[in-house]
Symmetry: C2
Subunit: 160 residues, 2 copies
Amino acid sequence: MSQPIADHPFTPHDHQQCIDQAMARAEALCRRQRARLTPLRRRVLELLWQSHRPVGAYELLEQLRTGSRAAPPTVYRALDFLQRVGLAHRLASLNAYTGCCYPGESHAGQFLICRSCQASSELSSAGVSRSIRQATAAAGFSVEQQTVEIHGLCSRCRED
Amino acid sequence: MSQPIADHPFTPHDHQQCIDQAMARAEALCRRQRARLTPLRRRVLELLWQSHRPVGAYELLEQLRTGSRAAPPTVYRALDFLQRVGLAHRLASLNAYTGCCYPGESHAGQFLICRSCQASSELSSAGVSRSIRQATAAAGFSVEQQTVEIHGLCSRCRED
DNA sequence: AACAAAATGTTATAGTGTTACATATCACAG
DNA sequence: CTGTGATATGTAACACTATAACATTTTGTT
């Protein structure tokens, strides 16, 4: 498994580097998959990567509207595309969306979400996946999709 | 940890027994906590336990309306109460609610949800909790609430 | 019986997401 | 090139989920 885009989103870092890397890997991924990263979809992905805080669809919509007009389906379709090709995730417990830190790699989305700074960090913990598989296998259940969203306080916010 | 109310919700069972046990344990829990299980709240809890399929708030509302009138806040307040005292859970990935199988016991809600029969099963896997704690501790994150919702196919639906 | 607290009723509205259909853009075969 | 089908976007209306604000009723306690 290669390096995640943001290894420690809760700690200070050069965020422009996250953005640059995310966009570069998105370009590469779409080229490989022959998926069309149109200007609109690219713009939405850039908006998602403005910070590590998951963003609501209507918040994205507001930002899209500076310059052009846009209606809900516009942003939802872009988000659908980004999720389909594996560039973004939806966080069900927040009704919000975030850029994927492991683009192009099969992984179960597992998220830490800080209630103080609202940033989220995407995990890809083999241990968590394994224990889930074990617990479900015991019940004869075949897993197709995992929603693992852990709310709490990040290391940085715990200090304050 | 005592017996869950429904051990194997995906397999055929005497469901009336689930209902009876759920209501009995709810009565007992509310008595202990000096919480008021009013007729309305009781009715909503009974509706939740009609099956193992999580139910949307507006679906509950429809059923409440047979006989009396009711508006959204009515059902949402009842659901808030049931969640507060630990008799029900909200499934974020479904926008739906379900009766709690471990009433009165502190536990992280972990759910298996079958996309075919739509039933859900509440786990309380120490292994999953532990692996989550381990993965988060490594990141210095303090967990306050877990959302673990696993979608897939239950043993019964896999056979068909 | 009187009061305060808790629960419920009522109306309106906020927030999130989809349907349906029209228009525009793109990729590719001819 | 250029027509054609597939893909993407625009637009308007609407469905679903949840909450706010305030009035009224019920309950538990003095």
